[in-house]
């Protein structure tokens, strides 16, 4: 579960949440081409650059990109024990937690919300790579179980957007135990006959890939996302040779039969809507979600974004 080995993807440091802290940063560089993009345009394009590079995003922009009318209700998530092992390392685990909690104003990497997608009720759980590499610890596992059970309660589809290096080493075996625990939650969805769709984003590896990320009814990957069990660095160390270009990327996994489709983030909501419409055909449509937390009026795609969308799917650069 060598999750940190996947961290080193050049140019992926400028995640949107960082930028939000500095609103004066009006121009953002495309990690693929170096092109400067007007921040508002990038946000309107759900953080996909004109070149088609999918930047890593946190829960809020994700909910915006996926829920009908950009409207959703956050779900409360259960709390979990903090630093259960009293982990001893160079950096104190509790300090790392504190730092990342401050960064994202959340307890851990998961955030869940309820809303509608194409008129169908859905719970979306988003894993935030910004929070300790999206690592799967007790809080994240417990969030997954709670969100899936909430979907069952609400008779809603369950969508998990994965982004994680894998298990959280600082929680030891209690972290590894989230693999069977989340798997049980996936079973509860299956027993209820509810769709479980996984959106695999960059990166999804280790214990997350080897549990709930690979157990969906439908697997959708974002272009260029790194998806695999062992991170590339560890494989390279093991076999002592360089891995081929594109190894373990979304397109590779599509070719190998591990994902059903690779979908541009800007088209993701529409793809989910038609899937859910068919998968939930035997169920009554859910009433529109109450706008408890609503975003501004639906945004209009800027010209460059439209142009990018019209182009054949751009391949994320390495």
């Amino acid at each position: 579960m060598n999750w940190l080995s996947n961290l080193a993807r050049p140019g992926m440091k400028n995640a949107p949440e960082d930028k939000r802290e500095t609103p004066d940063n009006l121009w953002i560089k495309c990690p693929a081409t170096g092109e400067l993009i007007y921040r508002n345009d990038l946000e309107a394009a759900h953080w996909v650059t004109p070149a088609g590079f999918h930047m890593r995003i946190g829960p809020e922009p994700r909910f915006k990109a996926l829920f009908d009318d950009q409207t959703w209700t956050l779900l409360p998530l259960p709390s979990a024990p903090v630093d259960p092992l009293k982990f001893k390392g160079d950096k104190r685990y509790v300090d790392q937690l504190k730092r990342d909690r401050a960064k994202v104003s959340r307890d851990d990497c998961m955030q869940a919300a309820h809303g509608a997608i194409g008129g169908r009720g859905a719970v979306i759980l988003v894993q935030d790579f910004q929070f300790m590499g999206g690592s799967l610890g007790m809080a994240a596992g417990e969030a997954f179980v709670a969100a899936a059970q909430e979907a069952v309660k609400q008779n809603a589809a369950f969508i998990c957007v994965t982004a994680s290096g894998g298990a959280r080493m600082q929680e030891g075996m209690l972290s590894l135990m989230q693999m069977p625990r989340t798997t049980l939650a996936v079973q509860e969805l299956a027993e209820a006959g509810l769709p479980y769709i996984v959106i695999l984003t960059d990166p999804t590896t280790g214990g997350v890939a080897a549990s709930y990320a690979m157990l969906g009814d439908v697997h959708i990957a974002e272009p260029g996302a790194l998806i695999g069990f062992t991170g590339p660095r560890v494989i390279e160390q093991t076999i002592r040779q360089k891995l081929p270009e594109g190894f373990q990327r979304a397109e590779f996994q599509l070719d190998k039969g591990m994902v059903d489709m690779v979908v541009d983030r800007r088209l993701m909501r529409d793809q989910l809507a038609i899937l859910l419409d068919v998968l939930m055909a035997r169920r009554a449509r859910a009433p529109a979600a109450k706008p408890a937390q609503s975003a501004p009026a639906p945004q209009v795609l800027s010209a460059p974004t439209r142009k990018a969308l019209a182009k054949p799917r751009a391949k994320a650069a390495e």
């Binding site: 579960m1 030891g172 693999m179």
Partner: protein, 328 residues
């Protein structure tokens, strides 16, 4: 000749002396020698007891990886009669890193699966040191399917450093294979008892260890990542594996306290490798008892039992874990 671990050096010296003396005693009649011999034997035993009474997690890691520790094949030979080994995942290949088959576990019809590390160099290569590829997990799934279909309990023996990190394994869906194997353990309508007999390494172990009852041998380890791997990721220094082993709480004793496992099987003094037959018999007895406890329960109850077992791990309402506080 026995393989001694680094921390066993003092014992190795004494035992070497004992061997020399024993040879002499046989050829001479010197009474003093035999007295000396008895003294040495007592000393060796005392040292062994002292040492093994307080193994640190890194020492345990070495014991868990001991080249003479009992392997899957030895457990099966001693505990399973009428064993028919099954091969292949029916999709791509046979992966001998995981073995499995049908047989009678101490007389009880059942399915057995487990990692095989192999012992000789040739065997180790053949079994890929117990590091399975997707085919190994898919074979395990297939065998678990049989267990469910024919109402046979599943016994799993876990001993792996982890799933194999290779190109081919990735290309053929290592992550998916592990996820599905874990899922299959959890959907079984028949009892499953898992024992970590050596190394329980990460997802590659969980895939075969998500049973109703999970036990560990006294000096086995169960880890989220190997201590070397954790040290190299956390501190960029695999040499700090000992620290990582301590910090991650990987011993049977710690994991029992944390509620991750259900019980510990005592090993012969000095580790399972010193008296393999006794170690194997203890494991057999513990599995039989665990299976007895799950007897007569219907599929739904068995599944609910497993679900409850895993859901309650780490839940906040549980009594606060107090792992190995006395060790500090």
């Amino acid at each position: 000749m026995r393989t001694y671990l680094e921390f066993e050096k003092s014992i190795a010296e004494i035992e070497m002396k004992i061997e020399e003396l024993s040879a002499l005693v046989e050829t001479s009649e010197a009474e003093t020698m035999s007295v000396e011999l008895t003294k040495l034997k007592t000393k060796a035993q005392k040292q062994l007891e002292d040492l093994y009474g307080k193994l640190d997690p890194w020492m345990k890691t070495q014991v868990a990886r001991h080249p003479e520790r009992p392997r899957y094949r030895e457990y099966v030979a001693a505990l399973v009669t009428d064993y028919s080994e099954l091969a292949g995942d029916r999709t791509f290949a046979e992966d001998p890193a995981i073995l499995g088959g049908l047989g009678k576990f101490l007389g009880r019809p059942c399915v057995v699966i487990g990692h095989e590390k192999g012992r000789t160099t040739q065997e180790r290569l053949k079994h890929n040191f117990g590091m399975a590829r997707p085919e190994g997990y898919r074979k395990a799934i297939r065998i678990m399917d049989l267990a469910d279909k024919f109402g046979l309990p599943v016994v799993s023996l876990v001993d792996t450093a982890g799933a194999y990190p290779g190109i081919g394994a990735e290309e053929r869906g290592q992550a998916e294979a592990i996820a599905r194997s874990t899922e299959r353990c959890l959907t079984l309508g028949v009892p499953m008892v898992s024992v970590i007999v050596g190394e329980g390494g990460s997802g590659g172990a969980v895939a075969l260890a998500s049973g109703n009852t999970v036990l560990m041998l006294e000096h086995a380890i169960y880890t989220v990542i190997t201590p070397e791997g954790a040290a190299s990721i956390l501190w960029r220094d695999a040499g700090r594996a000992k620290e990582a082993a301590i910090a991650m709480k990987i011993t049977a004793q710690d994991l029992l306290a944390l509620g991750v496992i259900d019980g510990i099987i005592e090993e012969p003094m000095g580790g399972a490798h010193r008296a393999p037959e006794r170690a194997v018999a203890s494991v057999g007895a513990a599995i039989a008892a665990a299976l007895d406890a799950l007897d007569g329960k219907d599929a739904q109850t068995i599944r609910a039992h497993r679900r409850e077992r895993f859901y309650k791990i780490g839940r906040i309402q549980e009594a606060a874990p107090k792992p190995a506080a006395k060790k500090r």
